[in-house]
Symmetry: C2
């Protein structure tokens, strides 16, 4: 069973995907399961993943063999799949869509113990190129409304394998969170005729107190209304709508600011579990070029989400973003360490 | 520092409350902290909590002394407090409100190892009465826009003490989640001239496949678009807007359905961590009596929330609500066990 169901009240979609987990009683004490030692993302184990969709590998090496430096494969337990049509139907008062979409894994490095925080800039850049390539290809599919690129790092952040990887899920509807951002930035634009994200960049640069890292094209900062301790956003300084249209120079500079930011978090908080999510404009939205602005949100998983947060959509953050930014700015980076030979 | 800050894009408020936690580096490996053995909610330790706001106790016993059966105290580390005014101000493009509100703890029983799932019906009823009393009193405060009653059970669900308790947070703004429900149910009402929750009750009763527990006044079921395995909602079967106006008969029947539902979850999933949240109409909303409907949402914490969920607002649920409901319905309850002498 794989279907999307819509909450009739707040229009929140959920994906019911039973291929991933099994029977109800598997949840009893499931948290005790230990992680497997075998890693399907290591060299030599390529045959244990579904066949690769994209790989950066030397000319002449065979698909699904070692030698690659970035590799993209379908998720072995996809929550959505392109093997079915996105048929819509009703179930009494409820709405359902068959589980159409895509679910891919971007294996960021063949090195089992390397993280985005610790790998060379060049490798991070290659990962971003893989994101761009997959994004642009999936964007062409008319049934796909959105493509979310994200990363789970650490068990507490939902990673089931420790080998560094990101994921991509393409959905037949616009996710609620993204729709909210689009709606909010549109209403801001109507009022001020400016992009709200551009205004944030301006205010953050002028205040300076929440900045974590920057270069000429990108800014990493703790948002003023940060939900979580050390929540960090990365934005292009200039107005940019569609991540997939990034220039080579932008990809270079994005890789650098992303890597430095993750390194600071890694150092400051001793390799904490975290998630990041890329929010971007996309062709299917049709509208939004003027007022929506792509960005990446990093959320370290340091605090528990409890009943108040679930019940209210409010978050309680015990660390003011200004303090978190000061703490992260103090971490020094020797860029030479990450400029590969 | 205690303030509410608003995300300028999606209008999400966050509470920055530094009184609860300390310095940024306290987050390093903080997860290893073990729980204290001393329990401030046990008899004899009343002086270690802030002074009680409400207690059900025998006539003639002194405030803040043993003998009580339900006790309400201010949270020792309140995220919001009524000691300041809810002053609003701007910070450049950002909005801020001083951290006005209330944060209370409802100690549900003097028995250290009793849970709502295992205590007698009578005790659950008393807890509901305490909710009602606090709700009605706080509802009179004109600066309070909303009162969220919720429960964190188990460490993974955010409970810092294992002794059975609920909490209440009163806020100077309507929480986003509640505002969304109100908006959604209003738009449904405009279209159909019926309450969306009443329609759900009708469909759930007629289908039967997602029902967990019921009596003549209340229904507990797995929502069609459940975000989480074993997510369960409890609703009054008849249209009821304001929880605070519940009749004695309704309180009796709500206590019973709540207790039975929690017992089934407790038994079926071996005492899992969970949260519950009460969503209700409230005087300050002014509008909504026709279309909003109070309800309680129970979310067992069995799956990890990862990057996809954070980034999209979409949830992936590996257990269809129909399977979860079947599994819970199979748990038999001997009501005699909970009818106290």
């Amino acid at each position: 069973m794989r279907e999307l169901r819509k909450d009739p009240i707040i229009k929140r979609w959920v994906i019911i995907a039973t291929e991933r987990t099994k029977r109800p009683h598997d949840f009893i004490n499931f948290k005790d399961e230990s992680q497997a030692v075998f890693c399907p993302f290591d060299y030599g184990n390529e045959h244990t993943t579904p066949s690769e969709i994209l790989a950066f590998r030397p000319d002449g090496t065979e698909a699904n063999s070692p030698g690659w430096w970035v590799r993209v494969v379908p998720n072995k337990f996809p929550v959505l799949t392109n093997e079915i049509e996105p048929e819509r139907f009703g179930h009494g008062m409820y709405d359902v869509i068959k589980g159409f979409g895509a679910h891919e894994v971007i294996i960021e490095t063949p090195e089992h113990d390397s993280y985005m925080a610790t790998m060379p800039y060049k490798q991070v850049k290659e990962v971003i190129w893989a994101y761009i390539k997959r994004f642009k290809e999936l964007e062409l599919n008319k049934n796909i409304q959105y493509i979310l690129i994200f990363k789970n790092h650490g068990k507490e952040a939902g990673a089931s394998l420790s080998h560094s990887h990101s994921q991509l899920i393409a959905t037949p509807v616009i996710p609620k969170r993204v729709a909210e951002e689009i709606k909010g930035s549109k209403s801001y634009y109507k009022f001020r005729e400016r992009c709200v994200y551009c205004d944030m960049v301006t205010q953050e640069l002028s205040e300076g107190t929440r900045i974590v890292e920057e270069n000429d094209l990108f800014l990493a900062f703790e948002p003023f209304a940060a939900r979580f301790p050390f929540e960090t956003w990365i934005l292009p300084k200039k107005h940019r709508y569609n991540f997939g249209k990034s220039s080579t120079a932008e990809i270079d500079k994005f890789a650098k600011v992303l890597k430095n930011t993750l390194f600071k978090i890694y150092k400051a908080l001793d390799n904490p579990p975290f998630n990041f999510m890329l929010h971007t404009g996309i062709k299917s939205l049709k509208d939004g070029e003027d007022y929506y602005h792509w960005h990446l949100e990093i959320v370290p998983r340091l605090t528990d989400i409890a009943g108040f947060e679930w019940g209210s959509g409010f978050y309680i953050n015990p660390v003011p973003p200004e303090h978190a930014a000061t703490f992260l700015r103090e971490i020094k980076i020797n860029e030479e360490d990450f400029n590969e030979d």
